[in-house]
Symmetry: C2
Subunit: 305 residues, 2 copies
């Protein structure tokens, strides 16, 4: 891989420091990308953990204090908090500061933050397609983003240097960069990520409602496919609640298509139409081939089971 | 682990020798469990591969020839072939022979085979909960069953020695054994395996129907959850067609519950009911904990992405 330009920041403020924020802090520490990292979180417990792990130079639960003097602010909280965060930090941001984020939905992020940001601040929303089912600052690690996509969705007219600097940050983390339209991003992610999570949450929820004698056995014999779903359905509840609340239209559109297709398959099972099943099951193998080819040089996500 | 009794067979006949059958052949080779292994498959190409890989002592496409003199016959084909196989081999089986299988549905297997088997033959249906998304004799490996469950569903009155011998075979492969009622097996597996596969096939199918500009990006950005589904949906099409055709009632019952739960979640998204989502997403984390605890000593399934 070609040697990448390392970006440099004087004072980076991470608002929210869970799996993603703490992994990014670890990357910035490793590569010396920031003179000072300040971590901001609501819970004292989180800030104590951050201090213990040495992930930041200073910690605070005060948003205004956190962003004062920062040339980069990255919001790493659930999306539902963005509006209040934008409202609080807007007046306190330094001129020329770049504001970015890591949220899984992008148009709603722009809608929530833009009204609060002064004109001399650069908004460069981002979304690293990386994660595990674990949450909190202890669960982060510096290789989380390696070989993964980082999607950037700057609004039209955003300063190109600011966009390039955020791209360089993610390149330092080992990510591949793509600039996307935010609405298009939300449609693509609805099918690749949001609907799979929604379905996994649903099927695991269905299992929790089973009669007790069945439920214990579902856990015991989960290796047959269900286990993959439980991993996805163990993802952070508040983060995912906010994804669905903030990408409603695209999620409902894709969910509608999924439900139609499921009804067709249900009918094929009911009437014993084996040909229809075999045709579908053969077609889906092709998609897998595309996925394997597209990602053959990407390391697997870490798994603990 | 306590030392297990190794079973011994004079002549083992494997009917169908794909991922599961070839893995079992490798175990029997490794542990010297059979004096002679005969592999039976319809396609000359499969038999050539088996010969090239040294998985069997002899090969044939003739069912009657295959089972002649065998003290163990294991059917490793898709379930849809069982009735014809039972009809063909029934009159050719030696007295005292054990007939087993590895199918993912168990009551339908008993219904298909029992009428064709003479009284002096022992039917011990089995189901190893193990597999990958790959098919064919090249894809098998001798550690596939290690730490996995092998579920046995002998009909009432089955000879206990025959059941114990099949249990010992799976113990040699490294499996944990459970004896189950076939109908109960089919209910448990409907939710742990059949519905997850059905859903994965559906969502990947939905993706194949997307507009072209979205479809290519779905493949590109599949790391967000979709990729796990493509792996499941790459499983053998004919095998899975037969699972759904042969476990119809349990699959439709569980699918009904899933669809109700999905409709509830869809409504929560539409009306913006974040509390309902958060409650569900928190509840599903608990199930994951149970799964991780139940399986913490089990090695992960091999994955190639």
């Amino acid at each position: 891989m070609a040697k990448r330009k390392k970006p440099h920041f004087k004072r980076v403020c991470l608002i929210g420091i869970g799996l993603i924020g703490s992994s990014l802090a670890r990357v910035m520490r490793r590569d010396g990308l920031a003179d000072h990292i300040v971590a901001c979180a609501r819970k004292a417990e989180t800030l104590e953990t951050v201090t213990r792990l040495g992930l930041a130079d200073s910690v605070t639960s005060d948003l205004v204090e956190a962003v004062a003097g920062a040339d980069l602010v990255i919001i790493c909280t659930p999306i539902g908090a963005y509006d209040a965060i934008g409202r609080a930090i807007g007046p306190a941001l330094s001129p020329g500061c770049i504001v970015s984020d890591v949220g899984s939905v992008k148009q709603a992020v722009i809608d929530a933050l833009s009204p609060h940001l002064p004109d001399n601040v650069h908004l460069v929303p981002g979304h690293p397609i990386a994660g595990t089912e674990h949450s909190g600052p202890e669960s982060g690690f510096e290789t989380l983003f390696e070989g993964r996509w980082a999607l950037l969705t700057p609004p039209a007219g955003t300063d190109r240097k600011a966009v390039e600097k955020i791209a360089d940050l993610w390149r330092s983390a080992g990510s591949r960069i793509e600039i996307m339209d935010p609405v298009h991003h939300d449609q693509v992610l609805a099918i690749t990520s949001h609907i799979p999570h929604l379905i996994a949450y649903t099927i695991v929820g269905t299992a929790t409602d089973l009669e007790d004698h069945l439920k214990s056995e579902v856990i015991k014999y989960s290796a047959g496919g269900f286990r993959d779903f439980t991993r996805i359905a163990a993802s952070d509840p508040v983060m995912w609640r906010d994804v669905f609340l903030n990408n409603r239209d695209a999620v409902l559109e894709m969910l509608g298509r999924f439900s139609e297709d499921l009804a067709k398959l249900q009918r094929a099972i009911r009437v014993g139409d084996g040909d229809a099943m075999e045709e579908l099951f053969t077609r889906t193998r092709e998609i897998r081939r595309g996925v394997v080819e597209a990602q053959q040089h990407v390391p697997p996500m870490p798994q603990d089971d």
